[in-house]
């Protein structure tokens, strides 16, 4: 994977496809409560952008997340989820009891929706960064073979 695939067709296709996949990924994430979708799917969609950038433009693509940072961000995603779970414990609730989150809304169900959105963000970050992380590990392995 030392050399990128490159080429006019791939470069322009990359520029057309990636913005749409990223917008669609964010849509799937934030709209996951109302329509099919959610954290796992959104993470896979968001990872496509960076995987494509790696494939088309090579290791030193501008639109990129390095392997080291990917592992860290995956951990941060899992931490966001766990922190959302632990937060209600300090406000008199059980683990992951969203109705005890320290936010005031008109309805109790809206607080639940907010809690769901928070954990979905954590899941998305973890899934996206794990995909990038595994791909980065495999690509670097093939680099050392050459």
């Amino acid at each position: 994977m030392g050399k990128p695939f490159g080429g006019v067709v791939l470069n322009s296709a990359f520029r057309v496809i990636v913005p749409f996949t990223i917008v669609y990924g964010v849509y799937v994430l934030t709209h996951g409560e109302f329509s099919p979708g959610g954290g796992f799917q959104a993470g896979a969609l968001l990872a496509i952008g960076i995987v494509l950038a790696r494939l088309v433009q090579g290791q030193d693509a501008k639109f990129n997340v390095k392997g080291k940072h990917a592992v860290m961000l995956a951990g941060i995603g899992a931490f966001i989820y766990a922190a959302t779970g632990f937060l209600p414990l300090f406000f008199g609730g059980n683990f992951l009891e969203y109705s005890c989150l320290p936010v005031h809304m008109h309805e109790a169900a809206e607080v639940h929706a907010l809690g769901i959105l928070m954990i979905e963000i954590g899941v998305t970050l973890t899934v996206m960064m794990t995909i990038i992380d595994i791909m980065d590990a495999l690509i670097r392995e093939s680099d050392s073979d050459e």
Partner: protein, 125 residues
Amino acid sequence: MKKMSAIIIAVALGLLCLSISCLPKIGDPNSAPNSYVTPYYIENSQKDTGSPNIVTGTLADYRGFDTLEETTVMFLAGMTAMLIIKAGKKEKNKAAAEQDAESVVQEKSAAGDKTEMISEKEAEK
């Protein structure tokens, strides 16, 4: 010891296969999960979780703990892949370095042209 554990695993697997026939059939309306939990989720999901999507409500709210473990497993899988592949690379590098050192020693000790040629070839590689 190995034989013993293999026998235990085989027996446990056999018991598992036998017990599968005792499980309720898929889609059986009278089975325990279908007669208590599922109707409750279908009726109260939107009221309880504030999300009109029952799947998301169940996944992230009723079964939030399960999804937390799923996310952790995902993170661990990524980390393990990274660690295994990186560790393999390090060992390979170490082996290559040892080979280089050996070839240098050979070069110093043996004055023959043949060993030098071989070590040069290795160095080129």
